[in-house]
């Protein structure tokens, strides 16, 4: 990875050079260096496999330049350059940005923040920036060995063909950015590192599946994640030979992973200024309305103490701040980048898109403009999108897991869902997914039996989940959603009724 100091020096030098360019009225330079290390697990007892299937890294560094022409503040051009931080590369980028100039009548100028920003000091406990690839490889193999050992010791039968599958990965994500802009008083920098680890254990002969996940910001947490293999196997063994209930309408508890998945695929994309401006939000026309239960509050916090996606500045150079999206059920905030914020505020159909409950003086801010690439690392070649960081759903009047299950009395505990998509488009709010593991049948207010993985499909609407839950969980638990840029901390919710259809084995 390129050092923060190198990025900062390039940004400073570029700032000086661009400030001397006569026809440029304003400019923004975004530099990034990112490193994504992945050790991917793949063990299958009955088929040839390598154990660690992919042991790899992806490195990318570069810068993006946006210019605004002095002659017309709506004329703006953009270019990016990979791998080269020399003055010649800046000259090339400037020429390319000039060649790409368009006149966008809605261009609001560059994100501005006149106050100097205090530099963040790195927390010594967050030591993953200097972790080696060997530590990631060691953790992945240790997790695999712990899974194999746990299976050998704890499997109830000596199966000739157990169909044991151990999958998942240990991923270490590190990024550094430096931003220079004519609208900022200084070059601003940020760096972050975190890992996510996820292990899935399937035992096909027992029709069993269990998962275990961890996220963290330190080497010690990474080392502790070696237990995930064992945890996943033990959970799968606990869930063997699950029941296959018939299709129907059920009371359910949705655990933290399903809630995180539904939020990720169905809700977060709707809680952006861009979604409101394009009238593609599931909450179009309902800003200021009560859209969730009054016990629920949803926020995004890049500075959260427990958060692993820690950011002090956005990819537009603005201070990263907590954004309250849903306050005790009421839609009060949106994730936004600078452009989309102004596009919505100045939209001629703004009142119709926001709805009658929206306050006249909106307190929306561009707190969430991030440029992310594969694996949610900061990348120089993306345009700022409105993206969350650490998404936290908290609940008042929450109850324990035992009480949630008791509230359902007879139904299903859903611990993991899969392939949750807005089946009729984001705005419609309809979704469907299948229950893929970590789940139970609830009888007489208790977890009575495991639920067979992949035997039921949920067909529902987001209002059924969030508008009037039967009971809400007390504790917000961490949850990972595959491919999502955000990390989630969410409670379980007990739901009055969801329609479940059967999935029959082929």
């Amino acid at each position: 990875m390129i050092s923060l100091e190198t990025l900062r020096q390039f940004a400073r030098a570029a700032h000086a050079q661009l400030a001397r360019t006569r026809d440029i009225g304003a400019f923004e330079l975004y530099c990034s260096s990112a490193d994504h290390l992945v050790a991917r697990l793949n063990y299958t007892s009955d088929l040839p496999s390598r154990g660690l299937e992919e042991c790899k890294s992806l490195n990318a560094a570069g810068f993006a330049l946006r210019i605004v022409m002095r002659a017309d503040p709506h004329q703006t051009g953009y270019a990016h350059v990979a791998g080269d931080f020399r003055s010649g590369a800046l000259r090339e980028a400037l020429a390319a940005a000039r060649a790409a100039v368009v006149r966008d009548p809605h261009f609001p100028g560059l994100p501005a923040d006149p106050q100097p920003l205090a530099e963040r000091r790195s927390d010594p406990a967050h030591d993953l920036l200097t972790a080696s690839d060997q530590q990631v490889i060691d953790s992945a193999w240790a997790a695999l060995s712990s899974a194999g050992t746990a299976f050998a010791k704890r499997t109830p039968l000596k199966l000739a063909h157990p169909g044991l599958i151990i999958g998942g990965d240990f991923s270490l994500i590190r990024d550094r950015v430096a931003i220079a802009s004519s609208a900022l008083p200084e070059v601003r920098t940020d760096e972050n590192a975190y890992f996510s680890a996820s292990v899935t254990a399937l035992i096909e002969a027992l029709d069993a599946k269990g998962t275990a996940t961890a996220i963290g910001t330190s080497r010690s947490e990474l080392e502790r994640a070696q237990r995930l293999g064992r945890d996943a196997v033990l959970r799968a063994l606990e869930l063997r030979h699950g029941e296959r209930p018939p299709a129907g309408d059920y009371r359910v508890v949705l655990g933290p992973q399903p809630i995180a998945e539904i939020l990720n695929y169905m809700v977060m994309g709707s809680l952006t200024t861009g979604a409101f401006q394009t009238a593609g939000s599931a909450y179009t026309g309902r800003f200021g309305d009560t859209v969730m239960d009054a016990r629920l509050t949803l926020s995004d916090d890049p500075l959260a103490a427990q958060g692993c996606v820690r950011r002090t500045i956005t990819c537009e150079g603005l201070p990263a701040r907590r954004t309250v999206l849903i306050d005790r059920g009421k839609l009060v905030g949106l994730l936004s980048n600078h452009y989309d914020l102004h596009r919505l505020l100045n939209d001629e159909r703004r009142d119709e898109k926001l709805g009658p409950a929206a306050p006249a003086a909106l307190n929306l801010q561009a707190n969430s403009g991030y440029r992310l690439g594969d694996g949610a690392v900061r990348r120089f070649d993306g345009h700022p999108a409105s993206v969350g960081t650490n998404v936290i759903m908290s609940a008042t009047g929450g109850v324990s897991d035992r009480e949630l299950i008791a509230a359902v009395r007879n139904g299903i505990y859903v611990g993991r869902v899969w392939y949750t998509y807005p089946i009729n488009g984001q705005r419609a709010g309809d979704f469907t997914c299948t229950i893929s593991g970590d789940s139970y049948v609830i009888r007489d207010g208790r977890l009575a039996a495991p639920l067979a993985p992949n035997c039921l499909r949920i067909n529902a609407h987001i209002e059924q989940v969030f508008k009037a839950p039967l009971a809400v969980g007390r504790k917000s638990e961490p949850a990972i959603v595959w491919g999502a840029p955000e990390a989630y901390w969410v409670p379980a919710l007990a739901i009055t009724s969801l329609t479940l259809t059967s999935v029959n084995p082929a």
Partner: protein, 507 residues
Amino acid sequence: MRRFVATHRGALDAEMRFEVMLARSASAHDGDPRDSAVSETAAFGVKVTCGGTGGVTAEGFTGVEVGRLALRKGRLMVELEAALNEALRRARWNVRQKIAALKTLGTTAPALARALGVEPSNERATIPATFQRDPRDALGAEMQQLCREASSAIAGLGQDIVFNAVSALSELRHELFINSAGAAISQAFAYSQGDVYVVAQTADGHQETWDVIGDQRGFECLREGSRLELSAHPDLHSFALELAGETRALAAAPPLKPPDHEVVVVTDPHFNALVAHEIIGHPCEADRALKMEAAYAGRSWLLRSTRENQLGRPIGSPLLSACSDPTLDGYGHYLYDHEGTPARRTIHIEGGVFRGFINSRATAAALGVKPNGSARASEAWHLPLVRMSNTFFMPGASDPAAIVSEVERGYLVCGNNIPSIAESRENFRISARRVYEIDHGRIGRLYRAGSVLSDSKKFFTNIDAIGNDLRLFAIPNCGKGQPMQVKRMSNGGPTLRSRARLVGGDR
């Protein structure tokens, strides 16, 4: 590569994929220009296979986006050498940890000890890209004008259009594959793609619609349209206006409220493209079948184990056949995959009987079959995965109009929207853009927010008519892998008639 392997202890094989890419893009929202850009980059990925005691082998990989540094030969060689050494170090450490794990697990991990015996490619070839309008030409202003005019025309259709976005892209990509076995394959690809997104709102409801046109051609396919036999499409302007018209009609249509039982469904080629993608293509990927995707995108209903699977068994109507064919002229066309294996047609289903998977060299070795050239990465800095190419249901003999007119009561399902599939793709719910009632052979009322829900094998088995109207459609955004790789391909099929449940919209 040969020298590296010869001079580094433990190294068995090494390979490199190098690519340079240039893309021009433009977009417009609601008739106003939004952006225009030229992107240039270069990247490589190197893989080293290492051997240890007892015949244990393991791999290490390093992917680097070098960008403009690729213009400096000396610097590029330094970066490449560093990456090879890093990949080798990872491979050695991986071998060491694998040997340790085998000691810990003893005989409980027999599959881990088995070497796959993968033979590297030694093919050599040079393949040019096909285009009339070179993506390297100064197309920016023309591309911007095309987007702006199309977006403006949509905005002018009426107040019921609340948002629209039109974008265009033209890209040239040059790839080089070399390895220590002597392979050297140079391939170039031109891609051009137009995307249209429209949101309409009426007093009766709302509708958001997105669709894409794309070819392995130059900008001409967006400016003038395409007359390719299997994937003809209009120019971007006409395509955008057609989609906007459809979106307006749907916003005024009621949501589907279907009966609570199985019905006759006639599905059109565009809808069937997504069925072919999700229910044929993905479960026919050998890495998925071999459980390598189990923690992410799931397994395959076609292979539970090497002893228990659907190979050679009926999984659908005798009318049904399906294949992947990268040699055809479609968005998923290529002649060599990213392991240097020549591309060829792979039959998945023949007369209703399941025949085989698309594979990589390693998964072919694991299954004891020949590699068929289906390992592809989205960029050189990613490792190749088993990927679809042009994957489709093969055509039948029936006239599509007759397939509809023979239905007494049923539904015509047109255009794909969004899929959701079960873990092994043994079940799916796929939403359509438009659903029409069929009453005594006549197409009736239009509905929005309808989807087809079925177990996969049952849907295939219930097929009783297949049209002669095969079409291929560009799929620009197929995600797979960790981290996610987004790949272009094409999928399609002819009109099909089967039985399934329909599900309507809640709002």
